[in-house]
Symmetry: C2
Amino acid sequence: MNIETKTAHFTNPLYLESGRILEPYDITYETYGLLNEDRSNAIWITHALTGSHHAAGVYADENKSGWWDGLIGPGKAVDTEKFFVICANVIGSCFGSTGPISEDYATHKPYRYKFPVITIKDMVKAQRILLDTLGIHKLEAIIGGSMGGMQALQAAVDFPNLAKKVFVLASTHATRPWAIAFNKIAQEAILEDPAFKQGYYDPAEIKAKGLVGLAVGRMAGHISFLSPDSMDKKFGREYKRTDGLYELFGKFQVESYLEYNAYNFTKWFDPLSYLYITKAINIFDLSRGYDNLEEALKAIKSKLYLISFKSDMLFEPKESKEIYDLMQKVHAKEQSDYLEVESSYGHDAFLVEIEKFEDYIKEALNG
Amino acid sequence: MNIETKTAHFTNPLYLESGRILEPYDITYETYGLLNEDRSNAIWITHALTGSHHAAGVYADENKSGWWDGLIGPGKAVDTEKFFVICANVIGSCFGSTGPISEDYATHKPYRYKFPVITIKDMVKAQRILLDTLGIHKLEAIIGGSMGGMQALQAAVDFPNLAKKVFVLASTHATRPWAIAFNKIAQEAILEDPAFKQGYYDPAEIKAKGLVGLAVGRMAGHISFLSPDSMDKKFGREYKRTDGLYELFGKFQVESYLEYNAYNFTKWFDPLSYLYITKAINIFDLSRGYDNLEEALKAIKSKLYLISFKSDMLFEPKESKEIYDLMQKVHAKEQSDYLEVESSYGHDAFLVEIEKFEDYIKEALNG
């Protein structure tokens, strides 16, 4: 599959929800498939906290495929032989789009804490501008999971005429304190790590050495993506060193898993971006600007597909169900649909159990 | 109520499960009420991870009462006008009993990493020796929650003729990866904190300044004590600064709660003890030394009361239920009883919702 990775540079100011302005800014994005003549076959994919524009395919010089490669590609549920698929790195992130370690054009130094707080609404606004620039004013669908689901929901409310169908997976309409608490561990661990230097670290050095605070925070993240039952299945009480039960630093399987993933993560993600994006997740509330959630949902014209996963504790099924129930109340029955997927993978399911919802998405896209 | 705080010094070696020896060692304990003439009215209370011997009453010079003061005292469920109640600080802890920052008598320096790994079995063995020394060879009951429940279970198996009744609250027969994972965050954050100095910190300095790694770890602990629903009820999405939603470091109520408790904790708990006690919790498995859990439970002669709390995610009700079901299978029906308490307080319920199980314990003790 052909992957085009591009970066668009915007010189017009981006007016943010906070009242602040981002100017100029870049958005890095990828596209898969071909846009048809009447520009009507586009699907916009929105990514999660640590995701990127690289949603599908494999680069020539790497063997790691895109984060939703199982779902997107030729002949797959999101069929790139039929659809033109686009995925952009959100502003605030660290994979090419403007974020806190990008250069502030006013000072020619990284923004760091001068970077404005970004919201989910800001993320979709910036991506909408990218779509407009590409001449895409109508979408077949928007599809996203977790923070990507928040973007999909926000876009459905903010741009009612943009997409025919909107798919929201493993997400919520407002982040609950449980998720905020896990993010708090990460924020505290990063901020208080001496190597973080109060934000004045050298990004290259941090990536080479691995920031402990970011690793500790990522461990919290990985716990929040699972559940007691999913951990039982995944790890049990397997002990890596059978001779070492009475060694203080002996390791259970789950401990090795957390260590490996946490310290690997520090090689490819930036701590300031982690602070800014978790902040965006924490303050996400679809009803902001409306009297309540019901009023916000009334704005939606797209067909809304809500997909939740039974063992997801970060964004529980009842959170998606609440949106669905309100959609059913304020719109025609056929304007929304709800799928609760049986899964023991927790929040991770939206990334790893694609076989459980790909047919649902495929049918919805082709129906 | 009269509180006697004492420290017993033992010069005989304590043979540990690991094969190592602790010699000599101290055990700090408190007693409430009076031991009757035939020494038959004693109740042994076992404490949780961060608990201490100070289970009940208020010291003359402090206004903070013991951690189970609502349950234990004159006229309370564990009635000190009727029972002689004893609670000892576990070895490995930091409130007077020998632990990793105690002086190693061989070198006259703190043990630090030279301290042996302690297990739940070791903890109860040491406390059993204390009881023997006090001339207490029969108990009316053993009562403990969380890690205290592990001790109660282990004592029931190891000393079948010791207690008439054993109460296990909010606990498990073997720690699951979910709990181990939360402990891992704490261990990693402590170990990697430069101020921890690889265990060679000055304990007084650490307490005065507050070790960030311990605070971050405690945040993880506090999350594990709650649940998504209990956090909704306790905090909601209340924001401490209504003017500051777009400030990067603005605070949700849950964030303030975690910060306050975490940094307060560092003033009174020791990081090396935290490493050693979480290790003991991680490797707890009641069936160790037996073919399986059923075989271990067969050893029990006491009546076993299992109390779980519906929203407890750290040690879920099904873990207590599993013990109960096996007890029902291998013993007479009346040798075990199970109570599942309706609660939205998560694991914390065993400390904060005493009114929901005090009558149950009172009746069982007096029945």
